[in-house]
């Protein structure tokens, strides 16, 4: 039953995504792939769309996947599921457990979760990049794609240069827009 699957899948995402938007991406990818809802390719596109539209990225992705698999009802259920853990936990903390945040054991658990999630996020980004460069789109066989390798190195160099040289953070939307235009030139009209 797709509605129940969407609910449980996104409940899991909402419950384990410590540290905001990017923390959710690995879990959403995992859930969506394990149910076979969408291809890895499509997930990347949805990340880009979610980054370029207003609102929390996690909520945007849940809405999109829900709509794709179950129409209005599906997207409402997925969205609700992804925000439910955050909503309930904050209420509980405000009503009853404010002291928990000062508890040393709880702090120790968080101290382990934070670095782990950072590693998980980095691995997800690195694997996506690896996949773009070395795996063929549909079959996932090993096949280096020279055009994409050069393109990735170029884009990453520009990104690092701008960040290091101007010492400013680059807006993800601007970076996505630039890469879209560059993509049209590299991969053709």
């Amino acid at each position: 039953m797709i509605y129940l699957e969407l609910f449980l899948g996104f409940l899991k995402v909402g419950f384990f995504a410590f540290g905001g938007a990017y923390a959710a991406i690995p879990f959403i990818r995992e859930v969506v792939l394990s149910y076979g809802w969408l291809s890895d390719e499509m997930i990347t596109y949805i990340i880009a769309v979610s980054e370029s539209t207003p609102g929390p990225i996690m909520v945007n992705m849940a809405t999109y996947v829900g709509a794709e698999k179950g129409g209005v009802l599906g997207s409402a259920i997925a969205t609700l599921a992804v925000i439910l853990p955050a909503f309930v936990i904050i209420l509980l903390i405000m009503i009853a457990f404010k002291a928990l945040l000062k508890n040393n054991y709880f702090k120790a658990v968080l101290g382990g979760l934070q670095p782990c999630i950072i590693g998980v996020i980095a691995a997800t980004g690195a694997f996506m990049t690896y996949k773009n460069m070395f795996l063929t789109e549909n079959s996932g066989n090993f096949l280096p794609d020279i055009k994409t390798i050069v393109f990735t190195i170029l884009l990453a160099s520009i990104f690092i240069f701008l960040k290091g040289y101007r010492k400013k953070s680059i807006s993800p939307i601007a970076f996505i827009a630039v890469s879209a235009v560059a993509g049209i030139f590299v991969y053709g009209i």
């Binding site: 905001g20 769309v49 609102g55 999109y64 997207s75 658990v109 782990c116 997800t124 890469s179």
Partner: protein
Amino acid sequence: MNLLIELFLTFFKIGLFTFGGGYAMISIIEHTCVEEKKWLTDEEMLNMTVIAESTPGPIAINCSTYVGFNQKGFIGALISTIGMILPSFIIIFIISMFLDNFLEITFVASAFKGIKVAVGILIVDAALKMFKKIKKTTLSIFLTLAAFISLFIIDVFAFNISSIVLMIAAAIISLAVYIIGKAGKSGAGK
């Protein structure tokens, strides 16, 4: 103006105009809720940020629930959170109806191929940014690297292991290190 309507409209506006998720949102919420509306003091804002970062889920939702509950209890929390997600829900739903067809146009597909490369870079960059912010101890550096290497290997070889397993393991290791450290200290003190 009725406080509930004000909460709804305020968070609707925040939801509509904040691009880029979590951290971008915190600065806008700070501006609106502390400076403009005076719903929170500076200290409360800081507390809320800590709570939002230490709990799972979208940071924006943590914040809207916190502020709403602070102002008007459960119903305030509910109305604020609904206000927060409604704009993006409507926008994304409309986009989802068109994206599939849109991708069949060749130049759009090329553009998205370019975007795909950018997304990978942005995700790695987000992780690096977060890494800069955490306290660097032997344990935290070890856990970051261990999680990175494990998940990358899991992905490359398509092993069927969830990253949730890695998170539970990291939590247990960190808790164990804390407990052992504490026992060691009290033992040395005797």
